[in-house]
Each structure stands twice: as C-alpha cells, then as structure tokens.
C-alpha cells in the first residue's frame, strides 16, 4: 500500500504593534510580570475594547503578502473556554468572517517548486503566560502578553512531509519579516506553530485519525515532532492499528510525543459575535493602498539577486531567506563589487558563527563595512585567507574593526622574500630528516616543512610565496 503523509499548519504570529490589540498597554517583551495590564486586557466587567488600527493594517498586509483575498466585511467573535491564561474566559478571535481568505505560499521541495494553499488568516488576541515549574501544586500567571495582537495563518493540509512543512515555515517567516509586521522571534514566543498530521492510503481507502500538536516553539522542534508523528501514523496505517483524534505534546528532551488527557470537552468553543466590537468594513482603496506599500518579497528578491548580482540559485536562496542577511549582503555590495566573495563569507563563516551561537542574522555584531574591509585585506595580500578566518572569529566575538585587529596582533602577511628566506633556511637546518625525505622523492615532506615555516611566522607567511621559495631552496 502506498501511504501519504498529510500535514496542515496553524501559525500564530504576534504583530509588531507598540500597544495591545484592544487597549493601550505596551506589547514590549521582557517586562516585569503583570506590569503591562489594565482593566481591558484583564477582563474587568464594564470595560470596552477598541481595536488597534495598526494591527488591522498589519494583518491586511500579511494577507496580501500571502496572496489572500481581503474581506471587505469582517467581524470579531468570542471563543469561549476556561483556562487561567485567559482572564476573560474567552478569547476575542474571528470565526466565520476572517479578515483574509484563500492565499498561497510557494516553496522549494526535492521534487521542485510546490504551492501550499492558505485557507485563511484571521486576527485574534494572545493569551497570558503560565509558569508551571517550581511552584508545587500551583501555577503562576503573567498577563503581560494577554491582548497582544496575533494573526493566525491556517494552511490546507498540502504538505506531504516534515521537510515540506519546514520549508513552508522558513518561507512564511521570511515573508513576515520582509513586510515587517512581526519580529518573528521564536525564542520570545512571537512565532508559534500548531501541527495537524495524519497518514492516508494514496487511493484514499483509509486514513489515520488526525493528531494535533500545539505551541511548538521552534521550527526545529516542530519538524522533529512531525518526523516522529509521521512514522507513528504510517506504522499505524500499515499495521491496521486503531487511532483516535487527539492532542499530543512534543517532549523535546525525550524526542517523543505524548497524548494529553481530558481535552475533548475543551473543543466546544461556543463562538458567537463579539457584542463589544462593531464590524470591520475595509474599502477597496484602503486595501489597494496597502498592496502598493508592500516591499519586495523573498521570491522577487531571489530572482533579482540572480539577475543583478549573478549569484548561483543556491546562494540567492540562502541569502534571501532572511531579510537581515539579504540587507547585509546588499549593504556590502554598495561598497564592494565581487558578489560571490561576499556571499561565500556570509553563507560560510558568518552563518556558521551565528548558528554556533544560536543567533539570527539580525545579530551580526559588526557592520557590513567591516566584512568588506576584511575581504579587501585578503584581496590586496595584507593578510592570508587563513589569518582572515582568525580575524573574523575575533570580529565576531568582539565586533572589532578588522584593521585594528590586524595592527594590534601584528598579523600582516610576510611577503618580503629576504625575511621569508631567512626563515626557510632555519627550517631546512632544523629539519634535516624531512629535507632528506623530500630529496629522496617523498613530496609529502614539503607540506611538513611549509607547516614548520608557518609555525615560525605564526601563520603570517604569504603561502604562495613561501611554497615557491622553499621549493627553490630545496632544489
């Protein structure tokens, strides 16, 4: 039997407004608990919520960037459930008339490009944060996040593998960053994802019951959770094991998913139109003006990077996957003309260093001009490429200007023949056995002698010149 995996995603993105969705409390991350709260966002009786105009604008912008139709008539609804992170015992959301419907995102897969359909994008308010650990039989609640504007992006179950879902999430994050409606910081919870996954026989004769996984807080965790569930569903389908529709939690430490208990009744949300908020009616000219304000999106920038800078597809794909990385690249290109060299540094050492430190391209600790300086020092022979890597590590650690590092640590490349010859003669004198090996035809001995000379110059010898002179001296 041929089996297909079906994955649909619900992604929540916090909008980058200054104030909350329905009140004027700050949305800033990291404040002392419960200091960004007021009677409105904590659900006191008798208050009136009032929607943030900017949040509506951001949601429309996101909908347009995701190729959705924007509803000219939309309304808010109450989604009722009891949970301590929800001070009103309902969340203001959208039910039957969401702001944006029917879009798509194109992704790259191993089998070529693929279109993932977006079912809807709607607005809602975020819930508070529960702290479970360390309080015995209690939990603590911080309502600073309650009422922060969110968009929920719901896809059709169009992804057929965790890798495709991962590619979709990366692309979605890039788009939201490009249009600057969300800072997309997963570690601060501003981007979170729920997964719906099951397996189906390709002829649709049978399928497993859908598993829901909520609040996966990193794309890496989401992909790992999907890989685990994909295997479980496929096995269940092939073995004919019964499955139930359930919510499962991803246990990152153990690398497994665990069924959550007693959540069935929580799905009766009893939505009804929010009586405290009047409908939203957007006219065509407003929607059109936001459409015109959309910046260049990742797909367009990818094409431009190939045509304008002559970059290979792979480089263009990586560089444009992050707005910050693409911006950084283009800032370098305003003061330097070899695109491939800049791209190699960014895709190589820069991304490696960022990954090793768990950082984002927005965290590169030195300006583009410093990277270009470093490249130019290699171009004009001031330093060798291997010294440049050391200078780079120092720049990354301290944000220092490469010229200062080279000067301070005396890293200027030795390209003076006389100076190098002196060192070479010393090496030949001190390594008679290797010299003999070389003369006996063991060409590998040359590498060892080069290494010794490099050691004496602390890596500063001009490698091409050193090789040439050493060979000349030995013969």
């Amino acid at each position: 039997m041929e089996v297909q995996t079906l994955i649909g995603l619900e992604v929540h993105a916090e909008l980058a407004t200054k104030s909350k969705m329905f009140c004027s409390c700050s949305t800033e991350f990291g404040a002392e608990p419960n200091t960004h709260c007021c009677p409105i966002c904590t659900g006191m009786p008798g208050v009136l919520p009032m929607p943030n105009k900017k949040a509506i604008e951001y949601a429309v912008k996101a909908g347009l960037a995701l190729n959705c139709d924007i509803s000219e008539f939309s309304k808010m609804d109450r989604k009722n459930y009891y949970y301590p992170d929800l001070p009103k015992a309902y969340q203001i959301s959208q039910y039957d008339l969401p702001l944006c419907v029917g879009g798509y995102v194109d992704i790259e897969t191993e089998e070529g490009p693929k279109r993932i359909r977006i079912r809807r994008v709607h607005m809602e308010e975020d819930a508070g944060k529960l702290l479970h650990e360390g309080w015995g039989n209690n939990s603590l609640v911080d309502y600073n996040r309650a009422g922060v504007p969110l968009i929920e992006i719901v896809t059709e179950p169009d992804m057929n593998s965790p890798a495709e879902a991962g590619a979709f999430l990366d692309k979605l994050k890039a788009i939201l960053q490009y249009i600057e409606v969300s800072d997309c910081k997963m570690e601060e919870g501003s981007l979170r994802c729920d997964v719906n996954i099951n397996a189906r026989a390709s002829d649709k004769s049978m399928a497993t019951a859908i598993t829901e996984m909520k609040n996966l807080n990193s794309f890496k965790a989401a992909v790992k959770a999907m890989e685990y569930e994909e295997k479980r569903h496929r096995e269940a389908l092939l073995e004919g094991d019964p499955t139930v529709h359930e919510t499962r939690r991803w246990d990152d430490a153990r690398g497994v998913t665990v069924a959550m208990r007693g959540k069935e009744e929580a799905h009766d949300y009893r939505y009804f139109p929010e009586p405290d908020l009047v409908p939203i009616a957007l006219d065509k000219s407003y929607i059109e003006s936001i459409k015109e304000s959309l910046p260049e999106l990742p797909d367009q920038r990818y094409q431009r990077f190939i045509s304008q800078y002559g970059l290979p597809q792979y480089d263009a794909e990586i560089l444009t996957s992050s707005k910050y990385l693409a911006d950084y690249f283009e800032q370098c290109m305003t003061i330097y003309d070899n695109a491939k060299t800049v791209s190699n540094w960014l895709m190589g050492d820069v991304l490696r260093a960022l990954n090793e430190n768990g950082k984002d391209p927005s965290d590169i600790p030195f300006p583009p001009a410093y990277l270009v300086d470093l490249i130019k020092y290699v171009d004009d022979g001031t330093i060798s490429i291997s010294i440049a890597k050391k200078v780079f590590d120092e720049m990354f650690a301290n944000g220092t200007d490469p010229g200062a590092i080279i000067k301070e640590q005396g890293l200027v490349q030795i390209s003076d023949e006389g100076e190098l010859l002196e060192i070479i003669r010393q090496v030949i004198q001190e390594n008679a056995p290797s010299v003999a090996d070389y003369k006996a035809g063991k060409k590998k001995a040359l590498g060892y002698l080069v290494g010794q000379a490099m050691k004496l110059t602390k890596g500063k010898a001009n490698p091409q010149l050193l090789n040439k002179l050493l060979e000349r001296e030995l013969n």
Binding site: K18, P33, N34, Y82, V278
Partner: protein, 95 residues
C-alpha cells in the same frame, strides 16, 4: 422540553458550574422556554435579509497604536485570591 437535564449538565461543566438535581431540572425548563421563544423568529421569511453581525449600525471604530500607562501592579493584583512573585497564583494546571 427541548433541553434535557443531561444537556444542562454538559453546559454547566463547560461553565465550571456545579448544579443540584433540582437546579438542573429548573434550568432545563428555563433554557427550553428561551429556545422556544426564540424559535418564533423562524416563522419569518429571512431569505433576503443579511445576517446581522452587530445590533448597532456602526462600523470601523478603531484607535491609534499608542502606548498609555498600564495599571499599577499592586492595584491589578489586589483582588487576586493569591499572589506570588508579582503573579496571580492559581491551582496547578496539569497537562
């Protein structure tokens, strides 16, 4: 009766209410009467009527994205049954 006591049970559970047998019967009757009353609307022909999104004829009431001071935390927490570390303290939620 349209609403059976078991349905009252279910609705009460969603609202975290504990009702006695007697109350369940009373509410089953009340809720049934409300539904029957509302059902009279279906006698009207509403084919050409747009569904009502709101009883007021207003639309697009928005505010600008401006931050204003929040409530003092001591005031915010003053009605909380229990407080710890500047947070509301609630029974542990087990997941």
């Amino acid at each position: 009766m349209r609403i059976k006591p078991e349905e009252v049970d279910y609705i009460a559970a969603l609202s975290r209410l504990v009702l006695s047998e007697q109350e369940k019967n009373i509410y089953a009757r009340h809720l049934s009467e409300i539904l029957e009353h509302a059902e009279r609307l279906s006698e009207l022909d509403t084919d050409d009527v747009e569904p009502t999104a709101h009883v007021l004829s207003l639309k697009n009431i928005f505010r600008d994205d401006e931050v204003k001071p929040s409530l003092e935390r001591d005031i915010l927490l003053s009605n909380a049954p229990e407080v710890e570390n500047g947070c509301f303290k609630v029974p542990r939620i087990v997941e």
